[in-house]
Amino acid sequence: MHLSPSPRRSLLRPLCLCASVVHLFGFSTHAQEGRSRPIGYLDQAIPTGQTRSFSVPFDPESSSLPQTVGRLTAVGTNYLENSAAAWTPGAFSTAAAPYFARITSGAHAGRMFRIVAPANTATRLHVADDGVGLATLGLETSATTGATFEIIPGDTLATFFGTTASGDTLVVHGAGDPLAADLVQVWGGAAWLNFYYNTVWQRWARDTDQITDPSRNNFLLRSDRGLMLTRRGPTPLEITVGGRVLATSQRAAHGRTANALTFLATMQAGDITLGALALQTGTRTTGWVGSADSATADLLIVWSGSSWFSFYYNTATGHWQRVGDPVNRDGYVIGAGTPVFVQRNQAGSSAADQTIVFPAPGT
């Protein structure tokens, strides 16, 4: 089991930097993976009183537990199976130490699934499929040719941002009053879930919590989603995260009820423009609605640092532009690690409808 702090949280410290910077500094080779992935780290600075959107564009190293890289031999409606595995039952299924399974080869390379209850068995991982229909995806299954996967650690509020517990380090500014503490916001689908570290209760809490409410230490931070950080501490907060750069495209599941918003991590280790992201293309999305009218178009929404910029693909002009602004924004840069809201105008039900393929970093 991985230990706190997060394997991706290589460094979070108060420091003054004005821009996010990504660094690639080597390669990670997993013995069972047989190929290397570049590793890197990303700095992002949040001045006092400001809010930033944030995601980690790297995978952590795969779990150090045995047999966390393998091939799928069976897939059910809520499980992935590797008949060759001999996992410790429950090893990947605790709330305090969440894990994900990332598909690393085959037609669905880049998909990631949360490992959830019921507890894993020696060969089976129960996963949440975010509504894409796990059994209908057609994931390749075979002991020799099945899709490869790896089990990677996830993060919770406590593992990523730390706590004041003995041996741990709280890297954000906590307080007894939620209005005085650094604020971590996670999108709940229709509203933000607001968390802070309560230094009186010595635990993570929601802004509406009282002391009798349960600890939020184990609240899962999905690595395929973004979050918002508001710095209220007296000095700027620099967040430095590290990990392995994705070798494949990130296949992200997103909500497809009409006008649903999903806050997605693009998993881009470097900056990328709207034109290069090219979500309007068929290889990236199914049925992306571009339009000359922003009211009927799918939207991509980016936090600018002080407000949300809403972009749509104008089919009449053939470029991305901001709502209410005709200027070509194909060159608008989405910084490394910057998550984006995706709002699809129309509902969609198929797995393809619910999937966005973000380009593989560096392609």
């Binding site: 975010d130 689908g189 939020r216 006008n259």
Partner: protein, 503 residues
């Protein structure tokens, strides 16, 4: 952090004005049979939720007597919430919301977000495009699928609003929010159905009701039991509307409209209204079925598929129409009204016209090989060409030709004709009335039962090619001349008679 009180968020002086405005909306309280969990009734001084602190709703919410109105500079975030709850909604099947869009609204959804004790979330939404500005609308959304990992037995908080990030103005009035295990009673007003709706128990309309479906989250509307009530029902959906049991057999509906292109499945054998029935999409029969309107029109804008069932159309009122029908074991027109077939039907069963008029709105509207049995009604060609199979006459009936109308039957000499067949608006110069292609198409007895109304009720005669014409060949104008001559002769006879009496 506890939510702020109303005193903190409501501007003074706005309360009374909005209360008066809201009273004019005139919608009563919800009627919701079955178990319900009231999340918020928005009553003054008794709300469960409150404005989310520091949200764009702060200071922009007006408390009315039984509702809140969001306006001013509020944006489409979820700005109203309740927390630290302990609700068990594991038996809930529907989320019900009463909401009104107000002028200036730019939020494109209304969303409710639930959070369980582990802070898993579940979101249910309604597109505002399905709502009408200024109309308080009841919305019911299925909640059967809460989402992976969400525990509806431990709902700890919820929030309500536009469900967005504050990019657009939100102008709405919220009156009620609840979870329930049954659908809203059909007691009148507009109910927005944002997903499959399954009325498993008998329903009685308590008022004129409109079911609008957003079509974004499943669209089926199913009545699993009977449906009655002397009120109108309109169902707007792009999905399938199913009537599993009889409709209006106890108390006729005032009217029934299935709009929005929905396909309709009628398994209950009967749909009865005093007024109009309109079906915008296809209609599929699961049993022998009677559509009955006492005084309104029956309008089938899509085809009827019969599944080898019998179709009976009973109209006595306004002109009705049907595009086409297929796979019927039989098709019967009864009632004194007129039904026009606007397209071409393909069923193999017999067509019965027992009363009223079955009018053809196009050439070959009836199946070419189908048998026609006239039992007291009228077949109106309206100038169209129609080839049919056999013709049987079981009661005095009428075929109404118009200019250019052509009617060809198969050899019907073996069919029983027990009444007269009156032919109207027929002209030997412009119409064709034919039985097979030989003179054996009808018997002499059958020909004697034909009355050509425009030719002095002359009986029919059949040619070597099966053409049936009036046996007295003179044209209608000749009949007029003969009648005039007869009148002159009669007058001369009377004059002579009068003179002989006076001499």
């Amino acid at each position: 952090m506890p939510p702020p009180s109303f005193a903190e968020v409501l501007p003074a002086g706005r309360f009374a004005r909005v209360v008066l405005g809201f009273a004019a909306l005139g919608l009563g309280a919800l009627s919701s049979p079955g178990q319900t969990i009231t999340l918020d009734n928005f009553n003054s001084g008794a709300t469960t939720g409150a404005v989310v602190t520091s949200s764009s709703w702060s200071g922009q919410v007006t408390q009315n007597a039984t509702s809140i109105t969001v306006g001013g500079t509020a944006t489409n975030v979820n700005g109203w919430s309740a927390s630290r709850l302990a609700l068990d909604a594991s038996t809930a099947t529907y989320l019900r919301l009463t909401v009104q869009l107000n002028s200036g609204n730019a939020a494109n959804t209304v969303k409710t977000q639930f959070e369980d004790s582990s802070v898993n979330t579940a979101v249910f939404s309604v597109p505002t495009a399905a709502l009408t500005t200024g109309v308080l609308t009841q919305v019911q959304i299925p909640v059967g699928t809460w989402g992976s990992g969400f525990d509806p037995a431990s709902i700890a908080s919820w929030s309500l609003g536009g469900g967005n990030i504050g990019s657009a103005a939100l102008r709405m009035t919220f009156e009620h929010l609840e979870l329930g295990s049954s659908l809203l009673a059909l007691d009148g007003g507009t109910i927005l159905t944002a997903g499959n709706q399954n009325y498993t128990t008998a329903q009685t309309l308590g008022g004129t009701t409109i079911l609008n479906n957003t079509g974004s989250n499943g669209t089926a509307v199913t009545f699993g039991s009977t449906l009655n009530g002397a009120h109108g029902l309109t169902i707007n959906t792009a999905g399938t509307v199913t009537f599993s049991r009889a409709v209006g057999n106890g108390t006729s509906l005032a009217s029934l409209t299935v709009a929005g292109g929905a396909s309709t499945v009628v398994d209950g054998g009967s749909i009865r209204t005093t007024g109009a029935q309109t079906y915008s999409g296809t209609v599929t029969l699961g049993d022998d079925t009677t559509f009955r309107s006492i005084s309104g029109a029956l309008t089938f804008l899509g085809a009827i598929t019969g599944n080898n069932r019998a179709l009976i159309i009973n109209t006595t009122g306004a002109a009705s129409s049907l595009v086409s029908a297929s796979a019927l074991s039989s098709f019967t027109k009864i009632g004194t009204g007129t039904l026009t077939l606007t397209g071409q039907s393909t069923y193999a069963g017999t067509t019965f016209i027992n009363a009223g008029t079955l009018a053809l709105g196009t050439n070959q509207a009836l199946p070419a090989a189908g048998k026609l049995s006239l039992a007291g009604g009228t077949l109106a060609l309206q100038g169209h060409a129609q080839t049919l199979g056999l013709l049987a006459i079981t009661a005095n009936s009428t075929i109404n030709f118009s200019t250019g109308g052509t009617l060809v039957f198969a050899n019907s000499s073996a069919e029983a004709w027990t009444g007269t067949l009156t032919i109207t608006n027929y002209n030997t110069a412009t119409n064709t009335f034919q039985f097979s292609t030989t003179s054996a198409g009808l018997t002499l007895a059958q020909l004697a039962n034909i009355r050509f109304a425009d030719y002095g009720n002359a009986p029919g005669q059949i040619s070597a090619l099966g053409i049936v014409t009036p046996s007295a060949i003179p044209e209608p104008s000749t009949y007029a001349a003969l009648l005039a001559a007869a009148a002159l002769a009669l007058a001369a006879h009377r004059r002579r008679k009068n003179r002989s009496h006076s001499s």
